[in-house]
Assembly symmetry: C2
Homo-oligomer: 200 residues x 2
DNA sequence: CCGATACGCAACGGTCCCGTTTCGTAAACT
DNA sequence: AGTTTACGAAACGGGACCGTTGCGTATCGG
């Protein structure tokens, strides 16, 4: 009751280790990024990888799902800044962000989770979609609507279908395309192909 | 050495039950179709679901992967007969097969496996791709090439990119589209949108 | 009938993970 | 110094599966 009167009262005793918390979340993201499904994640594996006792994990999160939600929440927003000059360029930026993320082990978490755990953890997915998927969709929707308004895109274009084509084609390549890294010009080729269509 | 001289000699003793074998494979496909990943499949769960002893499974397959491969191999070829009248109609047929399969619990196996287990079981995927994916790709490739030759599609069209657009867009809908059943005219709308492109 | 094999079932020892508890130690406070 | 809480490590009882084995029964050929 002498000093430290300011702000929230610090609880007595040894404070929780920030470092341990970081290590736990890093370990969780590492494992997910390596392709491990949420259902196969084990607290023991996370603790071991993080160099931490299980106690330290259970003291902070009461179950695996809460931990995964918090871990995914630390991934930063995935929407790149858009030049706004042409719709084509902005679409390429959006898709190229997806492409580069496919090679980044940390961002790969987003893809792996979205791909594999859709049905099994609905509440996790709900929060996850809201945080990681919706911002991308909103950004792309804005660009497409802007293109329709400016005349760069056809007036009768189905916005949602356009988004599905662009996103779905890139997702297809990340998952079933030729093995190895995605070619640097993939986003550009997808956008140009989708814009041009297939008929003469 | 009296009768039954024809063909392969029947081994002595009680023959293996065809019914049990069927039940095991059905149970396996059921579980996969319900969204269970290969890594979460347990022999005990399969045996229980099939109403069969574990012995009966291990007598036939030495490990889970072999069983899954055999189970998936029983799924019949997924390529529909094509009318061959117009490229547009044939593409719609191909995509609509994918759409209807998304609602069929048995065929859903194909999607779930392809989505989730790509990395983890490479040899399983190899055989699986060869059997279930390649025939579809070949069929679609033929249709697109035919369209290019006939002038229905642009001469400079990238065949692989066209396939990625059509397939990827349908896959996107099956996984992340609005909840519930896919609309009956989805294949038609995708094909028309992809053919027309997005520019005026 | 008899030998051989498959069947379903139950039990085995072993491994992995669960969520909890105990222990000795470390780091903050009064 | 003394209190309080967090730490990593280890161990607990419990559960799910593993792959195997033994059991009594069923179904084939000879």
């Amino acid at each position: 009751m002498t000093i430290q009167e300011s702000g929230t009262a610090r609880p007595a005793g040894r404070p929780r280790s920030e470092k341990a918390e970081k290590a736990i979340i890093e370990a969780t993201l590492d494992l997910i990024g390596e392709g491990m499904g949420v259902s196969e994640l084990s607290i023991e594996a996370i603790a071991s990888r993080a160099g931490v006792g299980k106690t330290t994990i259970y003291r902070r999160w009461s179950n695996k799902e809460d931990l995964v939600v918090d871990a995914l929440a630390t991934l930063k927003a995935p929407v790149p800044p858009l030049a706004g000059t042409s719709v084509r360029d902005d679409l390429i930026s959006l898709l190229d962000t997806m492409r580069s993320e496919a090679g980044n082990p940390r961002s790969r978490c987003v893809i792996n989770i979205a791909m594999s755990e859709a049905d099994r953890y609905p509440q996790l997915m709900e929060r996850f979609v809201k945080r990681a998927i919706e911002p991308r969709k909103a950004a792309m929707r804005d660009v497409i609507k802007r293109g329709i308004a400016s005349g760069e895109l056809r007036a009768d274009l189905d916005v949602d279908m356009g988004m599905a084509i662009l996103t779905g084609t890139m997702m297809w390549h990340t998952k079933w395309g030729p093995a190895g890294d995605l070619p640097a010009d993939l986003a550009e080729r997808i956008v140009d192909a989708a814009l041009a269509g297939m008929t003469p």
